[in-house]
Symmetry: C2
Amino acid sequence: MSFNDTFIRACLKQEIEHVPVWYMRQAGRYQAEYREIRKKHTLLEICRIPELCAEVTILPVQQLGVDAAILFSDIMVPLGPMGVKYDIIEKRGPILETPFRNADDIASLRNIEPEEDLSYVLETIQILARELKVPLIGFTGAPFTLASYMVEGGPSRNYIRTKQMMYGQPELWNRLMEKLGSMIVTYLKAQISAGAGAVQIFDSWAGALAPEDYKQYVYPTMKRIFQELKEVPVPKIYFGGVSSGELLPLWNDLDADVMGIDWRVSIREGRKRIGNNHAIQGNLDPTMLLAPWSKLESKAKEIIDQGLEAPGFVFNLGHGIFPEVPGDMLKRLTDYVHEYSHSVLNKQ
Amino acid sequence: MSFNDTFIRACLKQEIEHVPVWYMRQAGRYQAEYREIRKKHTLLEICRIPELCAEVTILPVQQLGVDAAILFSDIMVPLGPMGVKYDIIEKRGPILETPFRNADDIASLRNIEPEEDLSYVLETIQILARELKVPLIGFTGAPFTLASYMVEGGPSRNYIRTKQMMYGQPELWNRLMEKLGSMIVTYLKAQISAGAGAVQIFDSWAGALAPEDYKQYVYPTMKRIFQELKEVPVPKIYFGGVSSGELLPLWNDLDADVMGIDWRVSIREGRKRIGNNHAIQGNLDPTMLLAPWSKLESKAKEIIDQGLEAPGFVFNLGHGIFPEVPGDMLKRLTDYVHEYSHSVLNKQ
């Protein structure tokens, strides 16, 4: 089997024969095999055992026939070597031993040395780069999203303490953003050197911010990150998560290649807001995977039709897969995206 | 002291001397007095003791000097007499004994008879209508938001089962919407007859829906509710909650008087999306109440300035007050809204 680089070409707005597709959290609890592995290993253990982590990463590629793999990991992983003590608690998420709230806390954060600190991640990527016949997407959390866990001490509904630092101690906030920004650039460059064919930055909670707050407190760091990654020769994807629709106009001049959007904004409307410099990735509501096939099919068709209105489109969900999603629906959807988009592109 | 009807005039886009202000969850855990009462009574007990409930409702009006009171209650209250068995669990929210998921469940729901079933609510309103010197806002949850609790069995992050019913059993879903719609009209009419000077429908979770899903599965019921309330001579407010920004264009022809928006969309942008038929209410991010005063003041000023660009504006938050908010900040903000808007209006 030859290497399938459709995903990369779509990211770069080049010609394609079908719309490429992958799914956020395509390795996860909806898979029986994954649930079996999780009986013996915690999520973080899997991340730290390169052979096992590679196996978990490859499994959905084999099962679903998707056009890209995404490194199995967690956005908290690079925070460990920065000095953040955390654990990931089932059904709750990442919980910190001590939240980061004052100048000393922030000053204590050091930059990572991926070859030393996160060798298991790089080793996993090296295995995957050898074994996969599709591109591997490396990833990291974005500064706001990572900061929200660090300042709150865990998942949050309202991000009260995070915003309190942002509004009340902007210098401290900026130092935190700066440190996270540097870590992200270092980490992604190391992932790319190890063999990642693309990278995605997950800003899952940025949609909690009013656009002007995002602009003032987050945008400068995102701008810098993508600038510093500009010369790195792989596609960069930025994903904004739940209710990020109001932020899209601010993404226009970020040096990312692909912008991932959630289901509240259509692909057409997303392109209108972001402008045509970027490819678009998205945006099926994952709950649709529990709908009758006819409903799911017509929604997928609409997304693909809009996606093909301009060069540069990657089919994905607007949020990670839920454990409740049936794997056979995902397989059927993947086949449909390939076949339907192939037929449309062949007619053109 | 004479009756202050500024809030009603703003809702109806009439002339005002200052911008009226009230806060969602203005009676709540941020108040020491409320916390004391809650040591002796559960939330639902307070709702069921008219004298106590009226006291809790009046307290923030006295403390803050706001231009409207909002009935202390919970959106679950009218679901009890429909046949929903639930409890409200501290820090979790409403939890149902049995979720509503099949045709029999939905068929078992009966309409309420407020005079019989919810006499304690009407009695509370009667007390408040006598005692208050500002309008009392009655309220209810909206059909989608109520249905989400009923189908999920409690609070949800992803509304999987709710959307599953919507997509997979649209007839069942429509019957549920119809029953909730009828309850809402009956309940609000009874509240208004008892003395509520305005009513608000809270659709806190509607922002989880893509606009086209909202249009297909929720909008028809909202349209009908406001049509059936059209002749009732008090202002009707519709509030869409977190990330409802994408839904605003669909609200344009709803027969509500006021549209409440969250902080992700500015007042100016909200008016642009909804159109000029409605007054606007909102939309300070409540976390701003934990920011330094200068930050809060400049944001409040911006909201007021935009609010005064067209007739019909009510100052509020974009979400309920958090327990962490200091009461003196709310008082200072209330005074500022009154004084600053008064000075602007006097110059015009």
